[in-house]
């Protein structure tokens, strides 16, 4: 797998008028596909000027995914990617909701403490948790 044969990317409109920027935002009607998402948002900074190669992003994502499986999960899925000024943000989700808050909290703690190293590249990694409140 190389950077050349897959990619996931967030795009924004290129040609908005001032009037279009004021249009109201609406949600789509809820569907059976709607789900409770336990997300871990990974921020990688310190990217070279030409961006972070997708191999590096994969390496980081897979390291987290493997660590999540080792904690009893089923691995993480990439559900979003944003590219900024020398930054990359990956949104990762687990499809096994049982125990997900605990697993993701552990992952975040291990990453913050430096116990979990995601990539051999000299990037700064930090993450945030998006865990829906329990009803």
């Amino acid at each position: 797998m190389t950077a050349d044969n897959f990619e996931m990317l967030e795009l924004h409109p290129a040609n908005l008028t001032e009037e279009q920027k004021k249009w109201p935002v609406v949600k789509l009607r809820a569907s059976a596909e709607s789900r409770v998402a336990f997300q871990l948002v990974l921020h990688l900074t310190g990217a070279p000027a030409n961006g972070i190669g997708f191999e590096v992003l994969l390496e980081a994502g897979r390291a987290l995914s493997d660590a999540e499986r080792a904690l009893g999960g089923v691995g993480l899925q990439l559900t979003g990617r944003r590219t900024g000024e020398r930054t990359e943000t990956l949104v990762l989700e687990t499809s096994r909701t049982e125990g997900a808050p605990e697993r993701l909290t552990q992952l975040a703690a291990r990453l913050t403490s430096g116990e979990l190293v995601l990539t051999a590249s000299p990037l700064v990694a930090r993450c945030e948790l998006l865990i829906p409140p329990v009803a």
């Binding site: 050349d4 795009l11 040609n15 109201p24």
Partner: protein, 139 residues
């Protein structure tokens, strides 16, 4: 428009859906498309024009090795495919077709999609003046 002298890539699939996920542990079958859209249903009471926070477009192409500049366009259209009002453009994007790869997959999150009205819409993929693919849905 490609950067070289090659023909534009061929789009095998263009699909519009509500969400795409990529399985980090299954690179050979990584993409899952959730809720393919044929009719986009907005929350009750929505009055046009509106912004939908996200739509996703899945693109699978093959073609000659090279780099291609592509644009993705979202537009309301009439029954003949003529654009009604102003289209929203996303791009330019560089699509690389590397050597030795059968197909190239791309998942694009189209943020803040502008919808002008009820009715037929299209997502279109352009490479210069070449329309590579179009996918219809109804709002």
């Amino acid at each position: 428009m490609s950067f070289g002298e090659t023909s534009p890539p061929v789009v095998r699939h263009l699909l519009v859906c509500r969400r795409i996920s990529y399985d980090l542990n299954a690179p050979g079958a990584a993409y899952t498309l959730h809720a393919l859209i044929t009719q986009l249903q907005l929350e009750a009471g929505a009055e046009f024009p509106v912004v939908v926070p996200e739509l996703w477009a899945f693109l699978q192409v093959f073609g000659e090795v090279g780099e291609y500049e592509i644009w993705i366009e979202l537009a309301a259209v009439d029954g003949e495919g003529e654009v009604l009002g102003e289209a929203t453009s996303y791009g330019p994007l560089v699509l690389r077709v590397p050597d030795g790869v059968w197909v190239v997959n791309r998942a694009y999150r189209l943020a803040n999609a502008r919808l002008l009205r009820f009715g037929l819409h299209e997502v279109r993929v352009w490479c210069g003046a070449d329309l590579l693919a179009r996918e219809e849905f109804v709002v």
